[in-house]
Symmetry: C2
Subunit: 193 residues, 2 copies
C-alpha cells in the first residue's frame, strides 16, 4: 500500500514530478499543462524540471512508462488471487482515477494523438497492449473456472469492457459519478450471467 501510494513527501523529486505530471495530463490533457504548473506544485523552479526531463516529451514518456510499471506490479501482486479479485483490482485503476476526477492516460493521449510525439505514442501502444493482455487473461481464467459468463471471444469482451470504463470516466465528468458506478455494476452483472 505504501509502495503503491506513497505520500508526496516520500517521493524523490523525479518521481514527484512524474506524479504531478500524471495528474495534470489525466485531468487537463498533455497540451494543456506547462512546466510552470509542475514547478508550482512541486516547489522547484521551472528550469529545474529540465534537469530530470530534458523535454516535455521525455516527461510524457516517463509518465506512460510509470503506468506500465504500476500495471505490471498490480498484475504480479494479484497473480495468486481468484478472477473476481483480479477483476476488482483491474477496475480499481479506473475507480481511483474517477475518485480524483481524472480520465485514463490512454484516453487523454489518444484523443490528441496526432499532436503527440512518436516516442510517447510508441510507449502508449505498449501500455494499451499490456492493459488488454491482463484483462484478457483475467477473463479467460474466469471463464475456465466458470465464475464469469460471456458469449464473445475474450479479446472482444475485453474490448467492450475497456471502452466502457475509458469513456465512462470521460462521460461521468459531466453526467456524474453515479454513471461510472452504473457502468461498473452493469459489467459485473453481465459477467455473472
Amino acid at each position: 500500500m505504501k509502495q503503491l501510494n506513497p505520500t508526496n513527501a516520500m517521493l524523490n523529486t523525479r518521481d514527484y514530478i512524474i506524479r504531478v505530471g500524471t495528474d495534470l495530463i489525466c485531468s487537463r490533457g498533455f497540451n494543456a499543462f506547462s512546466f510552470k504548473d509542475i514547478s508550482r506544485e512541486v516547489g522547484i523552479a521551472n528550469a529545474s524540471i529540465h534537469y530530470y526531463f530534458a523535454t516535455k516529451t521525455d516527461l510524457g514518456l516517463a509518465v506512460v512508462q510509470a503506468h506500465i510499471k504500476e500495471l505490471e506490479k498490480l498484475k504480479e501482486n494479484n497473480s495468486e488471487r481468484d478472477p473476481w479479485t483480479k477483476l476488482n483490482a483491474f477496475f480499481n485503476i479506473y475507480c481511483n482515477a474517477q475518485a480524483d476526477k481524472r480520465v485514463c492516460i490512454a484516453g487523454t493521449l489518444l484523443t490528441d494523438l496526432p499532436s503527440i510525439d512518436t516516442p510517447i505514442r510508441d510507449e502508449l501502444n505498449k501500455l494499451v497492449t499490456a492493459i488488454f493482455a491482463w484483462l484478457i487473461s483475467i477473463l479467460e481464467e474466469g471463464r475456465r473456472k466458470k465464475v464469469f459468463y460471456f458469449s464473445s471471444a475474450p479479446r472482444t469482451k475485453a474490448l467492450m469492457i475497456i471502452t466502457n470504463l475509458m469513456a465512462g470516466l470521460q462521460i461521468s465528468r459531466i453526467s456524474g459519478v453515479q454513471d461510472f458506478e452504473l457502468i461498473k455494476n452493469t459489467i459485473i452483472k453481465e459477467l455473472k450471467g
Copy 2:
C-alpha cells in the same frame, strides 16, 4: 446529402471555418490547434478568423453548436424510419468520424475538460444530453416493437453503447479500424438477443 455534406467550395467562410475547426479539434484536441492552422487551410489571414469568431472559445462554442444542429437534423430526417435504420444512422455519426481518423467531439473535450471555458462546457452538456435522449428513444422504440432485446434500463443500455462507441474511436486509433467494426458488430449482435 448535399446539405449534410457540402463540399468546402459550397460553404460560406464562417461555415468553412467551423468545419476546419471541427476537424482539428476532433483529430488533435482543442488545445493543440491554432488559428494559424485554420487560416492555412481556409486560405484567409489569421486575423480574419477573428471577424467571425472573436475568441477561440467562441469558435469552440460554434463547433459544438453545429454538432447539436446536425444531430437534430439527423434525428428529424430519420423520425419515420424503423428502429434498426435509426440505430444505423446513429452509428454512422461514429463511423464517419472513424473513416476520417477522428474521435468524437465529446470525448476530446471531456478529456481536457478543466482547461475548457465554461461556455463550451455548457454547450457540450447540451450535446451529450441530446445524444443520450436520441439513443434512449431509439432503444425504447426497438424494445417496444420487439426488434431489440436487452435486459437493463434503456438509459443504462444507452450508456454502455455510447461508451463503447466513444472509446472505440479512441482505441482504434492505435489498435486499428477492425476494432471499431468489432465493437459495432458486437453491439448489434447483442441487441438481436
